[in-house]
């Protein structure tokens, strides 16, 4: 009888595992397998790692990590990884600097106004991401809205070249991922107990000092969550650097695309993807450890 009772919940807990295995672990293993093979002119365009089950044990000792060593040898990949991480890092900082005041303002707004403000942050999601990035081309191009406005105001007499530069990529990434920064920050600021601020004031702390000593430290979980939500997708971003960036813009997402669709070198492309994944797992693990530590010391 006891077993019958626990069967339902057990199935329920297995559903997310099954989902992860089918849609994450299996594709990951397939990509990993491809990354270990040799490119060929065939369909699919890579040599099988092992032909039969019996073959596995023979081949496993002689697996080729040539594609990975190749990534280390060609400076292009290292530069692309480095540049992607840097662009994502700077974008995350910018999104934080812009997002924090927005989230703070929302959390301190009159209670009735908050759902409306929240809606305004979420609203852009109702339009296709691709269309919104395209729209930035119209704004940033030499004869675009921004330059026309600056001409009209009289700030410039030569059009600014923004489109097809890294600046356009930063603008695109910060614009696109800002809500992912604002929402977790808002959540952590909004649920903060306001009597803590009164207590700080009561003990002689000025409003500015209270912010740095109480409000900001207590919003740190939101800062971490927002930073991860911006940083991780920004590292692998392809659409924004492709549409807004120029030839100087080197990002791993574009390199990956070129490897797959122009060079048709699936094994190297797979290796690029696996390394990217490994690079992104590191900050997540660090973040989770930090959170666990925070919970422990509490």
């Amino acid at each position: 009888m006891g077993e019958r009772k626990t069967l339902g919940p057990r199935i329920a807990t297995w559903i997310p595992y099954a989902w992860l295995i089918i849609f994450f672990l299996a594709p990951f293993l397939i990509v990993f397998k491809i990354s270990l093979s040799e490119p060929t002119l065939a369909v699919p365009p890579y040599a099988p790692v092992f032909e039969s089950l019996a073959d596995i044990w023979v081949k496993i000792g002689a697996l080729s990590f040539a594609n990975y060593t190749w990534l280390a040898e060609d400076a292009l990949y290292i530069k692309a990884y480095g540049s992607s991480l840097w662009i994502a890092f700077v974008s995350t900082i910018l999104a934080f600097l812009i997002g924090y005041p927005i989230a703070y303002g929302m959390a301190r707004a009159p209670r009735g106004l908050r759902p409306i403000l929240l809606m305004m942050v979420i609203l852009p999601f109702w339009t296709s991401f691709l269309i919104r990035v395209y729209a930035w081309i119209g704004i940033l191009k030499p004869e675009g809205l921004l330059n026309q406005f600056l001409f009209f105001v009289g700030v410039i007499d030569q059009p600014l070249t923004i489109i097809n530069t890294n600046i356009a990529v930063y603008i695109g990434i910060v614009y696109s991922y800002l809500p992912f920064m604002v929402l977790p920050l808002y959540a952590s600021l909004e649920r903060m107990d306001e009597t803590l601020l009164e207590a700080a004031a009561d003990l002689g702390s000025t409003p500015l000092k209270t912010f740095w000593q109480v409000t900001f430290p207590l919003s740190l979980p939101g800062v971490f969550a927002g930073a991860l939500l911006v940083f991780i997708p920004a590292v692998g971003e392809f659409v924004i650097p492709d549409l807004l960036g120029g030839s100087e813009t080197l990002m791993i997402g574009r390199t990956l695309w070129n490897e797959f669709f122009f060079n048709r070198d699936w094994p190297v492309a797979s290796a690029v993807a696996i390394v990217l994944l490994a690079l992104l797992v590191v900050p997540i693990v660090i973040f989770q450890n930090a959170q666990a530590r925070m919970r422990e010391t509490r």
Binding site: E198, A201, D202, L203, V214
Partner: protein, 381 residues
């Protein structure tokens, strides 16, 4: 030591001295939230080293009064003065008052030590002095062993102590306590009440406490302000409030009381004679300005009502007969609910001084209730 403190306590009555200067003055203070009047044109004087309780049900304005003193709310009208200096325009972080919050409001990301040091750090005291003073107050509240803990590693009682330590660390001129014992269980609450009294004696601070618990106010305070709907209805010592309530509201709010509606029959300089609507006559020692025929109320507390099988000597006055309706036995005392012929239930309590009583009063007994002429009070309101 205890006895000496008690002696000081007994003679501490600055409010009775017309030359004494108040420490805190609320002068015609009104606070409105939109249409709602939380505090309605109230004046109150609190003296230095006084333990003052603001007592009333929730929504009576007591917390608003406290928050205005701390600076979290601004009076809509009137002034608040501390040592004769108006507090208007002084922000909370510059007021020499500290508050212990009902929720304790401890900073969750700081250790006990850091919480207590927070106020001292704002004053830019030297590090060594901060350390000494933190150690001192933690010792005072017996929390020195928990200095490195975070607030959520503490029990409710321990958190309450830390909140208290943090509030007294700056040696404020006035300590404000907002329902400080509300979250504690009964036993811990009683212990803490006495600790608070001793602490106040030791530090020589002025305490203003907000509470809805009349027992708490009675135990701790020098004086109590009883509040109702934004008004202070009576300010007096606990004994005065209990024995000489000014209105039915105060009499009923503090302790248990029997209240009878009555008509004034006759007034002499030292006595007032009443005829209650329940059909018995009362003679009461009271110098109250009431006219013959006026409707007043007679209030008498259960412990001042005698209960007996035999009729008292003068059954025509200050006595009424009834039937025992219910008995609650508390061990040290017994509470009787007696139903009068008019249908009203009257409470009378008796101390259980003897272990064995020959003829105990029991359910459905016909009994007499009686009281002396100085047992009750006459209320005009």
């Amino acid at each position: 030591m205890k006895a000496a403190l008690g002696a000081v306590r007994r003679s501490f009555q600055p409010w009775a001295d017309p030359a004494a200067k108040p420490f805190i003055t609320f002068r015609g203070v009104t606070k409105r939230f939109g249409q709602f009047v939380a505090v309605d044109n109230q004046t109150l004087e609190i003296f230095e080293r006084e333990f003052h309780a603001l007592l009333g049900p929730s929504g009576c304005g007591k917390t608003t009064l406290l928050r205005m003193l701390a600076g979290f709310e601004t009076p809509s009208e009137g002034d608040i003065l501390l040592e004769d200096k108006p507090l208007a325009g002084v922000p909370p972080h510059r007021r020499p008052v500290n508050m212990m919050f009902q929720s304790y409001a401890l900073f969750p990301h700081m250790s006990v030590e850091a919480n207590v040091a927070f106020g001292l750090k704002q004053d830019k005291l030297p590090k060594s002095e901060i350390g000494d003073r933190v150690a001192d107050v933690l010792k005072l509240v017996k929390m020195e062993a928990f200095a490195r803990r975070k607030p959520d590693q503490l029990s409710g009682g321990q958190r309450q102590r830390v909140a208290l330590a943090r509030a007294i660390a700056k040696r404020p001129k006035v300590l404000l306590l907002d329902e400080p014992l509300g979250a504690l269980d009964k036993k811990l609450r009683e212990e803490t009440q006495f600790e608070l009294i001793n602490l106040q004696e030791t530090l020589g601070l002025t305490f203003v406490i907000v509470t809805h618990d009349q027992e708490e106010a009675m135990t701790m305070a020098d004086r109590i302000s009883v509040m109702d709907h934004g008004r202070i209805v009576q300010v007096a010592s606990p004994a005065e409030i209990y024995e000489r309530p000014k209105s039915r509201y105060v009499a009923d709010f503090i302790g248990s009381v029997n209240i009878f509606e009555a008509e004034v029959d006759n007034v002499t300089p030292e006595r007032i004679h009443l005829a209650t609507t329940d059909g018995f006559d009362v003679a009461c020692d009271a110098d109250i300005a009431a006219a013959k025929g006026q409707t007043v109320w007679f209030a008498v507390r259960p412990e001042k009502v005698r209960i007996s099988h035999a009729a008292p000597a003068d059954a025509g006055i200050n006595a009424v007969a009834g039937e025992v309706w219910d008995i609650a036995y508390f061990g040290d005392m017994t509470l009787f609910n007696v139903r009068l012929d008019s249908g009203r239930i009257v409470r009378a309590s008796a101390m259980n001084a003897a272990r064995i009583v020959e003829q105990p009063i029991t359910w459905e007994d016909r009994v007499w209730l009686s009281w002396s002429a100085d047992a009750g009070v006459v209320l005009l309101d």
